[in-house]
Symmetry: C2
DNA sequence: AGACAAGTTGACGTGCGCGTAAACGTAACG
DNA sequence: CGTTACGTTTACGCGCACGTCAACTTGTCT
């Protein structure tokens, strides 16, 4: 079962696809991070909602708060037809984020290198154990 | 003022250097992430404490919980002189972390690329504003 | 129509990462 | 000697990101 671009997903389907709970989706909606359609009272999640949720979960993995993420999302789709001043602010906010993410990338590389070092060391000790055991 | 390797820092000095509050340092100590010396009742932070705190703050920036970080730290210095079984567990835990960080790195690259795209688009719109304004 | 799953809106509870205030110790300075 | 600066423990509080009921409605199947 593939999720086509114009599929409308129920809350349960969303939960299965993204491994979150209904509570989480309603919470994100209350915080205005997503805004699914309604068929009667029931929620229907569009492709746009799915794209946004993907970005939300990614942002979380990088340690951004939901409020941070909300502002980023607003940028992603409120950009067209905006006032110049607003757009400039948004642009600079994005530039800040970008810088932050690139610093984070550099740090992550460093951390990975250190961890690899440490593991090589531990690997040697384990090799020593194997030698001593014959 | 440089911090030499064998300097012992007061809690206030630590806070200034790492931009955290005393509460934060005591909290980390309560959670057994650091264990400063004591002169009387007062805390004295060694080079080792500083190294650990650096790792703690880095880990936080990557969205790890304090408990996650504590386990990583334990690995970093409890490794020597450990039982083989223990060390093996530790080693595999580290391998998992490494994989996690490398996935995170790939995702981060993707996110950076997307954000750059979005910014290029916004940059064009802003250029249009500047054209229309003469 | 009856039953049952799936969804809805409150409302309160929970774990984490600290903030903040109260009350106290202690060492140095004028 | 008092006070000022810096530190300590103990304890309650708070914001965030949800979990967990409870009570109710809304299709869906037979």
């Amino acid at each position: 079962m593939t999720t086509a671009k114009d599929d409308l997903l129920s809350i349960r389907q969303m939960c299965d696809v993204f491994d979150v709970t209904p509570r989480t989706l309603r919470f994100y909606e209350a915080k205005e991070l997503i805004a699914p359609l309604r068929r009667g009272t029931a929620r229907l999640y569009t492709y746009r909602d799915r794209a946004r949720l993907k970005l939300i979960l990614r942002g979380k993995r990088f340690g951004f708060s939901l409020e941070d993420i909300r502002q980023l999302l607003d940028m992603y789709d409120r950009a067209p037809g905006q006032q110049e001043a607003q757009l400039r602010r948004t642009y600079e906010l994005a530039a800040d984020r970008l810088a932050q993410m690139e610093r984070q990338r550099a740090e992550l590389d460093e951390a990975i290198a250190e961890l690899k070092d440490q593991m090589a060391w531990g690997g040697n000790v384990l090799a020593g154990f194997r030698n001593a055991a014959e």
